[in-house]
């Protein structure tokens, strides 16, 4: 199972090259995608981001399996350490979704509290036959009354 000393030394050298090259690839994708390398050339986020995430996952896999020797440990150890991290898949999906919802609500609140939106709503109300008493000019002063109708 374990590698001989000479084989292990080779893995270390290989690891250094792999991690270095993958890091350079990631940075190149970031710089190329954001238009720093070729003027006027950009990559779409949906190409850049998955590529950089996959390369990082590969680096993480290499560090855990070769440098931290997980490849040479018993399967039971690998399972008991690695399987719990799968919970993070749920956490990432749930919390990014949540953050996105905060953004939507914040924008909704900004929209309904803007002056233009209030006027529009009041004008609509004025067109109703029994709501003709409220004038748009007075709306600012009667804000609280109007919103409670």
């Amino acid at each position: 199972m374990s590698l001989s000393y000479e084989e292990a030394k080779k893995v270390v050298f290989k690891g250094m090259i792999i991690l270095g090259v993958v890091t350079l690839m990631e940075v190149s994708i970031a710089l190329l995608g954001n238009g720093h390398m070729i003027p006027g050339f950009h990559l779409h986020k949906w190409i850049m981001y998955p590529a950089m995430i996959l390369l990082s996952m590969y680096k993480a896999y290499f560090i855990v399996y070769e440098f931290m020797h997980m490849r040479y440990e018993k399967r039971t150890l690998a399972i008991s350490v690695l399987v719990p991290t799968m919970l993070l898949i749920w956490a990432i999906i749930a919390f990014l979704q949540e953050g996105n919802d905060w953004n939507n609500r914040r924008q909704y609140i900004e929209l309904v509290s803007s002056e233009g939106y209030k006027k529009e709503m009041l004008e609509k109300e004025n067109k109703l036959p029994d709501a003709g008493t409220i004038k748009v000019e007075e709306a600012g002063a009667k804000e609280n009354d109007a919103s409670s109708h």
Binding site: Y5, L24, N34, K74, V81, L88, F95
Partner: protein, 290 residues
């Protein structure tokens, strides 16, 4: 610790799943100390994941976020507008120190005291270099760019527009072209003599075309997230350097030659040190690349 019998060499025999759990030996085929180091690292991974996921949730909760290739574009020796170069160097430093750590562990398996000490010293040098780089990065952000826990001077444009001079005319760049920008462009608000200088601009597209507006600060949480997450990682590097130093001195004193489990302490601190590198992979991805 000297009574550990489950060193790495003791689980070479093939065992069936049932035999593993019959007692009398570690079903994980490793010593108690190493197993607990793995579980500590697992719990630490959840702590870091919690921080990075909080970063993600807050980033998704605001309309704009400063672009990392603008925020992190300064390097020592007067280098400016060199996006991500300095942080790439920091990453290489950490990778190299991980490599020297693997070599120290391998020499430990051979019970080669001098080899262990040599490679551990190089690892410590790597860790200290990384910390120095981080100290420079923080100093630059705090002193020159005036980022703080509650103020993010890096804002991002929502509309295309043109910068204006104080008298209301279109501003020109140094080369004489009009100083225009597009939506999504990140800018730094400068601070002179304690005063923020927010530049005025005219919007040139969309519903608000023609309106005059002023630069505004970026998302408030950015500074706190940056300083806490990179700071927490830096604190791990710092504690790692302290433990590496202690274990290196023990090894140099010949302590591990006398132990039954040999240089296992070097393996344990090695696991911790690789974990610090592993976390940096994700901090680097989330803060500097995405």
């Amino acid at each position: 610790m000297g009574t550990d019998t489950y060193t790495q060499d003791s689980h070479t025999a093939e065992e069936t799943g049932k035999q593993l759990w019959e007692g009398g030996k570690s079903p994980f085929g490793t010593s108690y100390g190493k197993l607990m180091m793995w579980y500590f690292l697992l719990s630490d991974a959840f702590t870091f994941a919690g921080f990075l996921i909080a970063y993600g949730a807050l980033r998704f909760s605001v309309p704009t976020w400063p672009l990392p290739d603008v925020v992190f574009s300064t390097a020592p020796f007067g280098l400016e507008h060199k996006p991500l170069i300095f942080v790439t160097i920091m990453t290489f430093v950490l990778i190299l120190s991980s490599v020297t750590m693997v070599r120290a562990v391998q020499e430990g398996h051979k019970e080669n005291r001098r080899g262990v000490v040599k490679w551990m010293i190089l690892t410590i040098v790597g860790g200290l270099s990384f910390l120095s780089c981080q100290a420079w990065e923080w100093t630059n952000l705090i002193k020159n760019e005036h980022m703080s826990l509650t103020t993010d001077p890096f804002g991002t444009h929502v509309y295309d527009g043109v910068y204006l001079n104080d008298d209301g005319t279109d501003a020109k760049k140094e080369d004489g072209t009009i100083d225009a920008f597009t939506a999504g462009h990140t800018y730094l608000i400068h601070k002179h003599d304690g005063e923020w200088h927010k530049r005025k601009f005219r919007i040139t597209e969309g519903d608000l075309k023609g309106q005059i507006a002023q630069e505004s600060f970026g998302p408030k949480a950015f500074g706190a997230l940056f300083f806490f997450i990179t700071g927490f990682h830096g604190f791990h590097v710092f504690s790692g350097v302290c433990f590496l130093t202690i274990i290196m001195l023990n090894a140099a004193g010949g302590l591990y030659n006398k132990r039954k489990n040999g240089y296992e302490m070097v393996e344990k601190i090695g696991l911790y040190w690789h974990f610090v590198d592993l976390v940096w992979v994700f901090v680097f991805l989330v803060f500097y690349l995405l």
